[in-house]
Amino acid sequence: MMGRLWIDDTTLRDGEQTAGVVFANAEKIQIAKMLSEIGVHQIEVGIPAMGGDEKEAIKAIVDLGLSTSVLAWNRAVISDIDASLDCGVDTIAVSISASDIHIQTKLQRDRQWVLDSIKESVDYAKRHNLYVSVNAEDASRADPEFLIHFAQTAKDYGADRIRYCDTLGILDPFETYWRIKALRDAVDIDIEMHTHNDLGMATPNAIAGIKAGASFVNVTVNGLGERAGNAALEEVVIALKYIEKIDTGIDTSRFRELSEYVARASGRPLPTWKPVVGSNLFIYESEARGSGALVDPKTYEVYPPSEVGLHRLFIIGKHSGPKTVKHKLQEYGLPADSKLAHDLGCEARSLSIKLKRALFDSEVIELYNQIRRSRPDNSSSALPKNNQPSHLETVKGRTNDR
């Protein structure tokens, strides 16, 4: 059954390895601090063997003395491990390919060479008192028998865990479950899930691995990572909490803040529809949903927006109707009877179609004023001036994304 679960964030390693992404050292330090503050258990901070700036950043993060464990990535080469030792990290990952296609065409070696490299590097690292994860790169395309042999060898030489890498993102959750279960049953060693999103399966595969007995999960903020990216920290943590009822103890209320920071530092803006942290998630335009959420947010929300640092917002557009219009006007303290809400809804839909976007609040108020003016009972000509919604502070700086 499920024991303790550890979150291992690799934004600073696999995230930065993304084609085109480079973090400045100050950004790396800031990201490391934030990850530690929200309670991530381990952070993978980089590749010491790259030397230069990379090594400086790793040392600087180690020197922060964070409460989280700090891991460095290595090839199964002694000089890489020496570079890690030089940086003072407490944990290393030793990465080596497990699939025949990688062993033969990329490494141009054989399986025995792989096993020998594991022995040599794990043995060396353990003699230097490091916690060691052996990363089975391309594990999902490896011969399962060889993978067991691989894991057993790592264990025999003292490795603390195995990282199962679905390097190409070729598994689905069911296949992942069966494979991790088989590996777990064959070798008594902790397993970490490392998944990719090439077919849109990174998060469900990571969680399927956990269900099958993996006790570590490797994630990145925003799912940043090679090609289509990795399993996103925020998706995995929230899905575990609300679908699997497993609380990782991580402070999710800072997810939006963390995602915004990494989006800026990586130059990869957050899509408005990004799961968990997208700005569109708690925005209601359509009448069907808006009216439901107005009565009880639970009709359309699994958790409240504050849970991830977002806000609920109603906007008026092509799919809006009288109930959402009425609510929007109430936000500005504007009175509206059903007839007015209905008429304004019709006008708003037409304008929205013409403009090919949802309306800004100022446009809704302008329509309101026009309708009021054109009414015969224009007695209450003292229209509220300087209309300010009561919750303007929370809305400030947010756009309705078009």
Binding site: G20, P173, W178, A208, W273, S352
Partner: protein, 392 residues
């Protein structure tokens, strides 16, 4: 939520699907329903044509209840002479079905919430009302010569026994399909499998999966439903849809192909083109890392990956870029290795020695760190020129 199944009993493949597997595209309906997104009528017709051209056989084209502009768009698509079956999305109101019929669609999806939370707090109706409404609407659709899908909104939070009753009632009334909506995206693939299995075993009707991506599970859940016997999948281009969106057409098709060897016969090499068109029309740019169609999916920078790809693309690619209308790029940046430099300059017609490549790599890495990004090909040539000059 049921999660009591023995995972080992789940079939190892979904090849055993004995009903024809079909896609129902919702880009024009759930896609447009996304807060902030509005398509122009011309864009709607174009998207419908593109979907028809790539062989999507069912297209949900709009919501009659939205009024006259929407009805005109529906009519324009109906007059475009497409082979695909066109579907209008209706609430359980007879007049909406009539409007749909007047505009020339082939079918309607009748959507009713079936969960108690929706019935009590949103609709303020009873289960009995749900059953009566679906029968009444299906009768009307059939009278008008339309096919009808009975959609269960918030099905994933609905009592499974009632869901069975709802679908059974719809089938007896003559519905052609039943739609299972994980409206709030509260299920894992395993939970999805377990519920859908019960439905497909209890009701003999074509079942349609409708999933959302709030937890990043839309595609996985859609396929889990197929594994459990569902044979229609609702999709949208780029996954456009409410909140985090729906299962993406391109992901579902490629996942079926790569994971399960199921080829829906769709020319996937037009995926990037479709994705770009919908991105433009919806004002939602494709993130560079978007699975299947993102710019970055075939961009390799890190030394290990690029070196592997140069030796054999299969080392780091499941399918070739041409298969989805993309191209492979080797990017030179902070994580590059000397093999990439040698390969890159060979493309430019320059043969470098290993030591030249090492020197240029060091300069390129330093530049990338300084600029905080990867280098353009031009910059690489500037670096090369600087290097040559420093050597003379």
């Amino acid at each position: 939520m049921t999660d009591d199944l023995c995972h080992e009993s789940i079939p190892k493949s979904i090849d055993g699907v004995n009903r024809q597997l079909n896609l129902v595209d919702l880009t024009l309906r759930d896609g447009e329903q996304t807060a902030g997104v509005v398509f122009a009528q011309g864009e709607k017709v174009r998207i419908a044509k593109l979907l028809d051209e790539v062989g999507v056989r069912f297209i949900e084209v709009g919501i009659p209840a939205l009024g006259k502009e929407e009805l005109r768009s529906i009519e324009a698509i109906a007059n475009a002479g497409l082979r695909a079956k066109l579907i209008a999305f209706c609430r359980p109101h007879v007049r909406e079905i009539q409007w749909a019929a007047e505009r020339g669609v082939d079918a309607v999806t009748i959507s009713i919430s079936t969960s108690d939370v929706h019935l009590k707090s949103k609709l303020k109706k009873t289960r009995k009302w749900v059953l009566e409404s679906i029968v009444k609407c299906i009768d009307e659709a059939r009278r008008l010569g339309l096919e009808a899908t009975a959609s269960a909104e918030d099905a994933s939070r609905t009592d499974v026994d009632f869901l069975v009753e709802y679908f059974r009632t719809a089938r007896e009334a003559g519905a052609t399909r039943a739609r299972f909506c994980d409206t709030l995206s509260v299920l894992s693939p395993f939970q999805t499998y377990s519920i859908v299995k019960k439905l497909t075993e209890s009701v003999d009707i074509d079942l349609e999966m409708h999933t959302h991506n709030d937890f990043g599970m839309a595609t996985a859940n859609a396929l889990a439903g197929v594994r459990a016997g569902a044979n229609y999948i609702t999709v949208s281009i780029n996954g456009l849809g409410e909140r985090t969106g729906n299962a993406a057409l391109e992901e579902v098709v490629m996942a079926l192909k790569c994971l399960h060897n199921i080829d829906l016969g769709i020319p996937t090499n037009r995926f990037r083109e479709l994705a770009e068109y919908v991105a433009e029309a919806s004002g939602r740019a494709i993130p560079v890392w978007k699975a299947i169609v993102g710019d970055n999916v075939f961009a390799h920078e890190s030394g290990i990956h690029a070196d592997g790809v140069i030796k054999n693309p299969r080392n780091y690619e499941i399918f070739s870029p041409e298969e989805v209308g993309l191209t492979r790029q080797l990017v030179v940046g902070k994580h590059s290795g000397s093999h990439t430099i040698i390969h890159k300059f060979r493309e430019f017609g320059i043969d470098l020695t290993q030591s030249e490549a090492n020197d240029i790599l060091a300069m390129a890495r330093a530049t990338a760190v300084e600029l905080k990004r990867a280098l353009f090909d031009k910059e690489l040539m500037y670096i090369y020129n600087d290097y040559r000059r420093s050597k003379t």
